[in-house]
């Protein structure tokens, strides 16, 4: 296909878009609105997932050391902690620090603290994990370290959180999947209507000797233009929307990590552009293929 032919196809597509301005605008709006909806849900799910990740990362595992452990023993425990995979970070809490913290916690019930003779608390490590999924394996490994007496974490909380994340992921993937399918079907239907409105034009093209592939190319380029314009519009609107929501939510709830943390906005823009273009071209392809095969006689 040489440059003149490509230029001709683009010219034909632009003429057709201009002549069917209303249907073209409807197609572009359908693609845009569907993609904005999809992007909103994607951002919501990704951010929720990211927030759940943060919660699970903040769940600490505490490894209590033997009461009579020496400083050499503590160093050895630390070396072994560093060699276990899946640990995000760990902090040593000496028995004296732990006792001070406890006392400060019960500063209004001093008599409780005074009842205790000496410091009954052991040295410990507070350990943060990369993923909540690894918690059982890591606590098992921690228990095997020489010098570690006990390992504790909020087991029931972890179980509930994990279950919630699993269900949330299934729901999120299903909703995004259905939205994607709905976007695809609605767009194909709209483009189908646009192309059906040009049925007589297609008939004339065939009568004056245009081949099926020639007609298909004209419409594919038209679909490409519809898709790219629709997705560009969706990209601009969703970027503005997310920026606005981001600023507003961060102002109102500064402790929440909101949009754009889970996914780079540029990546989302590229996904939208790719999806919009694909939907436009695929919609045109199915519609014109159907029109040429089913409606027109060869």
């Amino acid at each position: 296909m040489n440059l003149r032919v490509i230029k001709f196809f683009f010219g034909e597509a632009l003429i057709s878009l201009r002549q069917n301005m209303v249907m073209s605008i409807i197609s572009v709006m359908t693609i845009s609105i569907s993609l904005i909806l999809l992007a909103t849900f994607m951002m919501l799910f990704i951010d929720m997932n990211s927030a759940l990740g943060n919660v699970s990362r903040n769940l600490n595992v505490v490894a209590y050391l033997d009461k009579d452990i020496t400083s050499v023993g503590i160093s050895k425990v630390e070396e072994q902690l560093a060699s276990i995979g899946g640990i995000h970070s760990f902090t040593f809490v000496s028995k004296d620090d732990a006792w001070q913290r406890l006392k400060s916690k019960f500063r209004y019930q001093e008599d409780i603290v005074t009842l205790v003779v000496g410091n009954p608390l052991p040295d410990s490590y507070i350990i943060r994990l990369n993923k909540i999924d690894d918690i059982e394996k890591i606590t098992r490994d921690l228990g095997l370290i020489d010098g570690v007496k006990d390992v504790r974490f909020g087991r029931s909380m972890v179980t509930k959180l994990r279950k919630f994340v699993q269900i949330f992921n299934i729901v999120a993937i299903s909703v995004v999947g259905f939205l994607l399918l709905a976007t695809f079907l609605i767009t194909i239907n709209t483009i189908n209507l646009t192309i059906l409105s040009k049925r007589s034009e297609v008939q004339i093209m065939k009568l004056v000797g245009a081949t099926n592939s020639f007609i298909k190319w004209s419409f594919l380029i038209e679909g490409f233009i519809l898709g790219i314009v629709g997705s560009l519009l969706a990209t601009i609107i969703s970027s503005l929307l997310f920026h606005f929501v981001n600023v507003k939510i961060q102002d109102a709830f500064p402790f929440i990590g909101v949009f754009t943390q889970g996914l780079d906005l540029l990546t989302l823009d590229l996904i939208l552009l790719g999806l919009g273009t694909l939907i436009g071209v695929a919609g045109s392809f199915f519609s014109i293929h159907n029109l040429l095969r089913g409606i027109l006689k060869k």
């Binding site: 003149r4 001709f8 034009e201 008939q203 093209m205 000797g209 245009a210 020639f214 006689k297």
Partner: protein, 229 residues
């Protein structure tokens, strides 16, 4: 040039439109297909244009069986056949763009397109309406634009389906004169019509069809409707 041999065509399985038709139209000939509505005139044109296939029998265009044509050959055949219709069937573009479209899909260069379009609009008498859209043209002018599009490619065959059906007598006669001129320049012209006046004035070959059969085939013929009509 065109040969129909024992051609039959049925619509909706029961409605027989053509019944074992045999017809030969030579190169450069001008022929009228006449008969009442539903006689089978348009079906013959559709079969020649390979818009449809016969149920039985064969159609040869330049000794090639149209049944053997593949998609690319059909497109090639249609580039050699100009068609005009009663309802014009022109694109919602200017006269120039309508005529240029046929040449563009064949990959013609801009300059060549301009020269050919200018020549044809002069031939059909639309030089002053070249940049007009269909809604700015009268019925006769739209038919001339359609005619211009049909001949721009210098087709070997020109098929006209009721070309004067929607036109006043003056415009009808003008269209027929242009068709005659085209025929003089070595194009086979086949006109399906039930316009008695035009047929009788032109004095060309007349093929009369009735009930799916050819009932009369006459050189320098007249319309002559049988009493059974």
């Amino acid at each position: 040039m065109i040969r129909l041999r024992n051609v039959s065509k049925t619509y909706n399985k029961h409605f027989l439109v053509l019944n074992r038709i045999n017809l030969h139209i030579s190169k450069d000939e001008f022929a009228f297909l006449v008969g009442p509505t539903g006689a089978g005139k348009t079906t013959i044109l559709k079969l020649i244009l390979r818009e449809d296939l016969p149920d039985s029998g064969t159609i040869y265009i330049d000794k090639v069986n149209t049944r053997d044509f593949r998609e690319a050959q059909i497109a090639k055949l249609r580039k050699n056949i100009g068609v005009i219709f009663q309802d014009f069937k022109i694109l919602n573009r200017t006269v120039y763009e309508n005529l240029a479209f046929v040449l563009k899909i064949q990959g013609e260069k801009k300059q060549a397109i301009k020269e050919k379009v200018d020549y044809v609009v002069n031939l059909v008498g639309l030089e002053k309406k070249i940049h007009c859209y269909p809604y700015q043209l009268s019925g006769g002018e739209q038919q001339k634009a359609c005619l211009g599009r049909a001949i721009i490619n210098k087709p070997l065959i020109l098929l006209a389906d009721e070309p004067t059906g929607n036109l006043d007598p003056d415009s009808s006669w003008e269209i027929m004169q242009i068709l005659n001129k085209i025929n003089m320049s070595n194009t086979t012209v086949i006109v399906a019509t039930h316009d008695k006046t035009i047929v009788d004035l032109m004095r060309k070959r007349v093929v009369a069809i009735h009930g799916g059969n050819i009932i009369r085939d006459q050189q320098l013929g007249r319309y002559h409707e049988p009493e059974s009509y």
